[in-house]
């Protein structure tokens, strides 16, 4: 009985000490942490290539598209249709030649596989969940999710053809 009482007193005492002594170091810690964070962020940007600049011509992404045939020459009719779809459905967030809510589409075909691009258009939610590069993009772009604009596979393919015309 006595030992339990002692234990309780001890425990309570410990609580008081830990609570009372906390306030000052807390502020210090927070400021130290902030500095640390800043240093860390700098380090990563210095050493790591941005997700939007990463070149990965093997990753096909995760989604409905497993393979696309890309002929050497650009299908101009398809690309024109793709430009039309892009202007209607995508320009709320993507602008040619300029970073906006999301990255510009210029040069994307040199950095990603056609399958990855189409999967990102057709199932952005699934890609953000399951593809590491897509996940990194979400973080790079401020947590702004890419919207699923419910394009048909045909329209997504046309948008891809349009992207091939953008340097």
């Amino acid at each position: 009985m006595r030992t339990t009482l002692k234990l309780i007193v001890l425990l309570l005492g410990f609580f008081f000490i830990s609570c009372g002594g906390k306030e000052n170091p807390k502020e210090e810690k927070a400021s130290v942490k902030l500095k640390k964070d800043k240093v860390e962020v700098k380090k990563t940007t210095d050493t790591k290539v941005l997700a939007s600049a990463t070149v990965d011509l093997k990753n096909k992404g995760v989604g409905p598209i497993s393979s696309v045939d890309i002929p050497d020459t650009i299908d101009n009719t398809m690309a024109t249709h793709g430009a039309d779809v892009f202007n209607k459905m995508c320009t709320a967030c993507h602008k040619v030649g300029k970073k906006f809510i999301g990255p510009p589409p210029n040069g994307i075909t040199e950095r990603r596989t056609p399958e990855w691009i189409m999967n990102m258009i057709l199932d952005p939610e699934g890609m953000t969940r399951n593809d590491p590069l897509a996940k990194a993009l979400l973080i790079e772009f401020n947590g702004s999710p890419m919207a699923n604009q419910n394009l048909s596979e045909e329209d997504a393919r046309a948008v891809l053809e349009y992207f091939r015309t953008l340097k």
Partner: protein
């Protein structure tokens, strides 16, 4: 000896078990029994088996529930303004609430009825009636939105209404309160013989569902209370209960209950349809509104119609008969075969059942006992199929299962009574809590009921839920009716005051439910088809803002050049094309509401800025991790300012 003993003990044990079970059943009013709990439990992520559409009564709206869980999924705004979505506030939906009395943004919604094909639910539309400002509305069951509202001229208390014929040829609207037709300045005391009860038939376009007033039968000035269509052999007839055949104009509580029997009016609409098609009927000047919502323009329009085709029953021989029915009948329900017409005399203990076959025989052999304003009254004994002597009090409404059983609510004795069609034998009764009005079995008003559950909708709640001050939501009770005896499974609260309800299997509606509106099909007059089309235009003091929205910004989000005294129309197009990504729009100082805009849809909110300053607007629907960032500013300058109109995003 041993055998006998074992048997004896065995039997005793079995009896104990059975009685034990019975006892626990009769005590488990609160669905505490594990089996009842399992029956209503829909595990997280799983879906209900049935949709139930409960009228909201004085809320003016329709609520959608899942059965067996009793979870509410949606409140569909119909006759009432609804700030949750901006219904009745947005420029596009305001016309839906126009009437010949002006803009009437509320009503008393009573009787939902799902469209039918060959007497079976087809799940295309659901029709509902506004009781106070007589109107019929059609709700599309793919979008779950109000598509159309049409007024009922010459009607007052639109109560025996919004029931459809078995191929949705017509939806009917009967008047509960007789009125002068046409309306005129006259002494109320002169009511008797001078008022009319209009029964209105709206033709429903089989492709679009659009309603048009086909004809209106001007019946004697009784109160037409409830209705149901004939089906099977009785297809082509419609049945309406009447009360106050005394035609009292005051203290109806006493004066309308003097006659021992009132009538069920049997109306052969096919005969009247033919009469009208051959040029019959009289055109009468009137004024009523027809409001139609166009899904492609996302906009409703109102049209005034100035004429109605009326039919005097005396002009169509053999089209209308009265079936005498005791004690101010309320419910008028037709069984799945179409043979039995059930009239529930609300001041009686018994339920009266008429036979359609006998009715036709009585008509053929002219077994009439009287006539009322020239309409033959059939001999009661000649048409009566039987009556259900249940010992309950105050029968109101009856629904049916697929096995030849009927379920009638008793308001005064607070119970649902199950009885057998044909033998009129009472099979079971269960208490309700309390004072039940309508009940609903999915498909229970069709040729093909899905008799798994019955929902009893009660008028009084009292102690069923935690008290919430003097005002309580009405309670509903769910019973399992798949066995011989009904089993009370659960209570759930309902919104407004549910009168009738309609239900159907989930698979009839769920697969075709609209997920998004296609942006490319948006034909709204003020659509912003691409963010590049976003702009602000001034026309005098009217300013039109063509705005686009997507996760998580508005285009434009900075606007200058608005002045005090302007009338600003925000035409906002949601550019999302993904299921369940609506965005909201709220403007500080807006005197109407916010609006909630579905993917691919355009809605317009009007704002009249009154104060100089920089005023924010924002998205009200948490749409992404950056939802809090989905906002913008409008600079409002004095009315005499020269600030040019300008708009931008990200500049």
């Amino acid at each position: 000896m041993k055998h006998i003993l074992t048997r004896f003990f065995g039997i005793t044990f079995a009896v104990l078990l059975i009685t034990g079970c019975n006892n626990s059943n009769s005590q488990s009013n609160g669905a505490l029994g594990s089996s009842a709990a399992e029956k209503v439990y829909v595990a997280p992520g799983e879906q209900d088996d049935f949709y139930a559409f409960l009228s909201g009564g004085y809320s003016g709206n329709l609520t959608v529930y899942g059965l067996p869980s009793g979870r509410m999924f949606k409140e569909i705004p119909v006759f009432s303004q609804f700030p949750t979505s901006g219904y009745g506030y947005s420029e596009e939906t305001k016309p839906l609430l126009n009437t010949s009395f002006g803009f009437v943004p509320w009503d008393d919604l009573h009787h939902p009825d799902i469209s039918q094909t060959n007497g079976e639910l087809d799940g295309r539309w659901i029709f509902v009636n506004g009781n106070n400002t007589p109107r019929i509305a059609r709700i599309d069951l793919s979008t779950f939105e109000t598509s159309e509202i049409i007024e009922v001229p010459n009607c007052a208390g639109n109560h025996s209404s919004s029931y459809v014929t078995e191929n949705t040829e017509y939806v009917v609207a009967g008047t509960r309160f007789a009125v002068p037709v046409p309306q005129r300045d006259m002494s109320i005391k002169d009511k008797k013989g001078n008022f009319k009860g209009a029964l209105t038939f709206y033709k429903v376009d089989p492709e679009t569902g659009r309603m048009s007033l086909a004809f209106q039968v001007l019946m004697p000035g009784f109160d037409y209370d409830k209705a149901h269509p004939g089906r099977g052999n009785s297809h082509g007839w419609f049945f309406f209960t009447t009360y106050n055949t005394e035609e009292a104009n005051t203290l109806l509580e006493v004066n309308a209950s003097q006659n021992d029997k009132d009538f069920i009016a049997a109306v052969n609409w096919k005969k009247i349809e033919e009469f009208v098609a051959n040029g019959g009927g009289t055109k009468m000047p009137t004024s009523y509104m027809h409001n139609v919502y166009d899904e492609e323009t996302h906009t409703a329009t109102s049209t005034t119609i100035n004429e109605v085709l009326t039919v005097d029953p005396a002009d169509v021989a053999g089209a209308i008969y009265f079936l005498p029915t005791p004690k101010s009948p309320h419910g008028c329900d037709v069984d799945p075969s179409g043979e039995y017409i059930v009239g529930s005399g609300k001041l009686s203990a018994d339920v009266t059942v008429h036979s359609f076959t006998k009715m036709m025989d009585a008509i053929e052999n002219e077994k009439f006992s009287a006539d009322a304003y020239g309409i033959p009254v059939l001999d009661f004994e000649a048409i009566n199929a039987g009556s259900v002597k249940s010992g309950g009090l105050g029968p109101l409404h009856t629904e049916f299962d697929a096995n030849g059983n009927a379920y009638t609510t008793f308001f005064i004795s607070s119970e649902v009574v199950k009885w057998k069609l044909g033998t009129w034998e009472v099979l079971d009764r269960k208490p309700t809590f309390y004072s039940v009005g309508h009940l609903m079995i999915p498909g229970g008003n069709s040729r093909k009921p899905f008799g798994k559950y019955v929902v009893a909708m009660n008028k009084i709640t009292k102690d069923r839920y935690l008290p919430t001050g003097p005002e309580l939501e009405h309670s509903a009770q769910l019973y399992d009716i798949s066995g011989e005896k009904m089993e009370l499974l659960s209570d759930f609260p309902t919104h407004g005051e549910p009168h009738y309800a309609a239900g159907c299997p989930a698979e009839l509606l769920a697969p075709k439910s609209t997920k998004i509106y296609k942006l490319e099909e948006n034909k709204h007059k003020y659509v912003t088809p691409t963010p590049g089309d976003a702009r602000v235009e001034r026309n005098g003091n009217e300013v039109h803002v063509y705005m686009a929205m997507i996760r998580s910004h508005f285009t434009p989000d900075n606007i200058e050049g608005i002045k005090v005294g302007d009338k600003v129309f925000f035409h906002i197009t949601n550019h999302e094309q993904d299921f369940d990504v609506p965005h909201g729009f709220a403007m500080i100082g807006a005197n109407n509401s916010e609006v909630l805009i579905m993917p691919g849809q355009t809605k317009t909110l009007t704002w009249e800025p009154k104060r100089v300053g920089v005023w924010p607007f924002y998205c009200t629907d948490f749409c992404s991790a950056l939802h809090q960032e989905m906002q913008g500013y409008i600079r409002v300058s004095p009315s005499n300012s020269n600030i040019e109109l300008s708009w931008s995003l990200g500049e």
